[in-house]
């Protein structure tokens, strides 16, 4: 298993646990109502599961097990793979912080809103880096 795969899979486990923590907080909100009004943690919960856990687990396994691109470049461009890892993680973490904060502040174009835009761009770039690096490895044998 290549190092990038290990990083993706272990990171995905952390997001899996964090998603369940978010789920516990959502449950606790319903019981004690301690959260500021308007803070909806469901988007964080979904994205920790769907992007942090499942998608990153898939990306790690794809980088490891998909058909070789060429004999010289079996995993195509590992730098692009690492770029995908860094961009996706920076974007997701920034999103998990700025999305609830933006909901609390509530005014358009606050600093949290700007960070949300940055998070969107980082996640998008990370996703595209994965697609570009994997496309050529989807081939018949």
């Amino acid at each position: 298993m290549p190092p990038l795969t290990r990083w993706f899979i272990k990171t995905s486990f952390l997001y899996f646990a964090l998603a369940l923590v978010a789920g516990v907080v959502i449950g606790a909100q319903a019981v004690w109502g301690f959260s500021p009004p308007g803070v909806d943690l469901y988007p964080s919960y979904f994205h920790l599961l769907a992007e942090g856990w499942i998608t990153m687990l898939i990306i790690g396994v794809v980088f490891w097990m998909f058909p070789k691109y060429t004999l010289e470049q079996p995993r195509r461009n590992p730098s692009l793979g690492w770029a995908s890892y860094i961009l996706l993680n920076l974007g997701l973490v920034l999103r998990i912080i700025s999305e609830p904060a933006n909901a609390v502040v509530g005014t358009p174009a606050s600093v949290w809103a700007i960070l949300l835009v940055v998070a969107a761009a980082l996640q998008w770039l990370g996703g595209m880096a994965f697609v570009v690096n994997s496309w050529g490895r989807v081939k018949e044998k």
């Binding site: 769907a50 499942i54 998608t55 996703g127 496309w135 081939k139 018949e140």
Partner: protein
């Protein structure tokens, strides 16, 4: 990787790219609120990433790596899984269409098409869920 798997996986990568693009637009809109109508596209974002990305990636890889059957048809009747591919993609397309142009009954038809596609995949895969030795 068999040809059918390459179609499933490439389609899943296309939907990943489209779903991430729409997700980024939705998130930017959440921050800057530049176009409230964009929020209506959320069901398309969900459909592209759940059915388009996760389901098709899993189906393509499953068709590729699950134990093969003995005899002349190691992956069962390939036509049934091709049918699954086309029905799942038609269903996704109809869900997207229904979100853009709401028409009565289209969502139900779309889900029905997806259901038949998924059943076709399950039927042709069922026998391959076995020990490698058997």
């Amino acid at each position: 990787m068999p040809r059918l798997s390459t179609w499933f996986v490439r389609s899943s990568l296309v939907y990943l790219a489209l779903g991430f693009t729409l997700g980024a637009i939705l998130l930017v809109n959440k921050g800057l609120a530049f176009l409230p109508q964009v929020w209506k596209l959320l069901p398309i974002h969900i459909e592209m990433l759940l059915m388009g990305w996760f389901v098709q990636l899993a189906a393509g890889v499953g068709y590729w790596i699950l134990p093969r059957l003995s005899g002349e048809r190691p992956r069962g009747d390939v036509r049934i899984t091709w049918l699954a591919f086309w029905l799942i993609n038609l269903g996704i397309g109809l869900v997207i269409l229904e979100t853009l142009i709401p028409l009565p009954g289209i969502l139900m038809i779309a889900r029905l098409v997806e259901l038949v596609g998924v059943l076709a995949f399950i039927i042709n895969t069922w026998e391959r869920v076995k020990s490698f030795a058997s």
